[in-house]
């Protein structure tokens, strides 16, 4: 296709995707506490504010801890499930695959409301641990998908070869399967981590009144008083996401992870 036209199209697409972020980046370097654009003056103090202001700092810590723990739990749930589905012939077990994919596919408000009723009924409502479990269930889809993809890429004769050399199931898993699946495991964790970091509604419904994650903090700030810190946090989050996904692309095969069958150059 016409290359100049294609460039223009890609550029417009990129502009649409980056325009809000450009404006927010501009707002984040305002010198005074207002949301002017183009920015008035230049200051990075609003980035310092994320770490200096105890409220923003604790929200940041809460978000990072929540994301780290829930992503880990999601991987711990997804790994044995994906392995079982790959290793064993059991059609009925596919129901769990479906259950693993459903939470992320349904409108999030439904998963959130389900978890809210559950925690309220069982009497754990508002406890921080519930947010970890809720996010793990909500995002289990991501490691499950990447791991299933990873398993399907493993040549089964490798397992047979290891078995002929005397490795039992457990040893095969540790010495052959796990090393091969590791990139998929890491990227599954990365996806879950970044999305959990940004998640609002499930966190809000489960622990919204007892704990403030960064998205909740931003939303509250949106209602009760704008500050350029919101903009600097936004840019920080975009940067984290870009760095994490760049690392995934650097050490893994991103096109393949996202479903391209073979990698062409």
């Amino acid at each position: 296709m016409n290359t100049a036209l294609q460039r223009l199209y890609f550029a417009l697409f990129g502009l649409f995707l980056s325009l809000p972020l450009i404006v927010v980046a501009g707002v984040s370097v305002n010198e005074k506490q207002n949301l002017a654009f183009p920015p008035q003056g230049f200051s990075l103090s609003w980035y310092g504010e994320i770490f200096a202001n105890p409220e923003w700092r604790s929200a940041l810590v809460a978000s990072v801890v929540l994301a780290a723990l829930s992503a880990a739990l999601a991987v711990v749930i997804a790994l044995p499930l994906a392995w079982f589905l790959w290793r064993r012939e059991a059609r009925w077990a596919n129901i769990f695959q479906l259950l693993g994919i459903a939470p992320f596919t349904l409108p999030p408000v439904i998963t959130a409301l389900g978890l809210l009723t559950f925690w309220a009924t069982t009497g754990f409502y508002g406890q921080p641990a519930t947010a970890v479990v809720s996010h793990a269930i909500f995002f289990v889809t991501l490691p499950l998908v990447t791991l299933s993809l990873g398993f399907s890429a493993i040549d089964r004769s490798l397992v047979e070869a290891a078995a002929t050399m005397g490795a039992d199931d457990r040893t095969v898993f540790r010495t052959v399967v796990l090393p091969l699946i590791l990139p998929y495991l890491v990227s599954g964790y990365a996806f879950a981590f970044v999305l959990s970091l940004n998640e609002y509604i499930v966190a809000y419904m489960t622990v919204g009144f007892t704990m403030e994650t960064l998205p909740i903090k931003i939303f509250n700030a949106l209602r009760y008083g704008y500050t350029p810190t919101m903009a600097s946090v936004t840019i920080l989050f975009v940067a984290i996401a870009a760095i994490v996904f760049s690392l995934v692309a650097r050490f893994g095969d991103l096109p393949k992870l996202l479903g391209a069958m073979s990698t062409r150059d």
């Binding site: 296709m1 016409n2 890609f10 972020l21 927010v24 509604i201 419904m205 998205p215 760049s246 991103l254």
Partner: protein
């Protein structure tokens, strides 16, 4: 390695933890929610067990009908806009150099992972009078004075398209990467211009993918909860907003649950209908 059925009980070992977690924390909550949707609201606490249809009957009103209609219409509009914008883009992307693909995939994933809050904040800034895009137009001399572009339906739609667009590209991407590139080349050798080849070969060959993508983006857009609140007026609020509002602020869990169940049913129903229509169209 042959995949073999589990022989001994211990073969089921790996399944125990994941299955337990999913059942306890997804199936049970989901079922609880369905049960609660038949409960009676208790103004003192949350709710008391019962079996009434009041909660369902309540939204068989003009008001909720309008909200539901608006939510579905909005989601359809978002899905159509996204697929129309994303299909040619993804097609070209899938044919680009690997480095170009990786760059765009990282960018798309970064935008996709952005919190709805952040997207809402970013667009509200972009549409605002003080820091918005209109300031840019004023600076360029294209406008007299800056104006606020939100709250408005256009603002809600734009932000939701923004939110769903990376998702759309990523859903389309596998199918387009796998699309045999010689199909378009063959069309060109047979006399079709690149544009004609796109519409006579790529689009029809991907018919089922496009339908599936429309459904996925539709469901994705149905879940949008914050953007209508941040960028829209109350008449632009979706069912997701009302559900949260009832659950959190009105403390009417049974009614919220009933709406959620209804939303699931409507969603599944529409999906089934579309799939059915697609199958039928294919057979004809």
């Amino acid at each position: 390695m042959r995949r073999e059925p589990p022989q001994k009980f211990s073969d089921y070992g790996p399944l125990l933890f994941p299955a337990g977690m999913l059942i306890v924390f997804f199936v049970v909550p989901f079922t609880t929610m369905i049960a609660v949707s038949f409960f009676r609201r208790n103004p003192a606490g949350f709710y008391s067990p019962d079996f009434v249809f009041d909660n369902y009957a309540r939204f068989l009103s003009l008001f909720f009908g309008k909200v539901l209609g608006f939510s579905l219409g909005l989601a359809v509009a978002v899905a159509v806009c996204c697929v129309v914008l994303a299909l040619p883009f993804t097609y070209l992307l899938a044919r680009s150099k690997r480095r170009t693909q990786v760059f765009w995939l990282v960018a798309l994933l970064s935008v996709l992972s952005l919190s709805e809050v952040i997207i809402g904040f970013a667009w509200s800034t972009l549409f605002s009078r003080t820091a918005g895009i209109t300031n840019l137009l004023v600076t360029l001399g294209l406008m007299q004075e800056a104006v606020a572009l939100n709250p408005s339906f256009g603002a809600v739609l734009t932000a939701m398209v923004y939110q769903a667009l990376p998702y759309t590209v990523l859903v389309l991407y596998p199918a387009l990467v796998r699309l045999d590139p010689t199909l378009t080349e063959a069309a060109r050798t047979l006399g079709a211009s690149p544009l004609k080849a796109f519409f006579t070969v790529v689009v029809p060959a991907l018919r089922n993918t496009i339908i599936a993508t429309l459904i996925m983006v539709f469901i994705f857009a149905l879940g949008s909860y914050l953007l209508p609140q941040i960028l829209g007026r109350p008449q632009h609020w979706t069912l997701s907003v009302l559900i949260t509002d009832q659950a959190i602020y009105q403390s009417n869990m049974p009614f919220a649950a009933a709406m959620a169940v209804f939303l699931v049913l409507v969603t599944l129903g529409l999906v089934a209908l579309t799939v059915y229509a697609g199958r039928k169209g294919e057979a004809a």
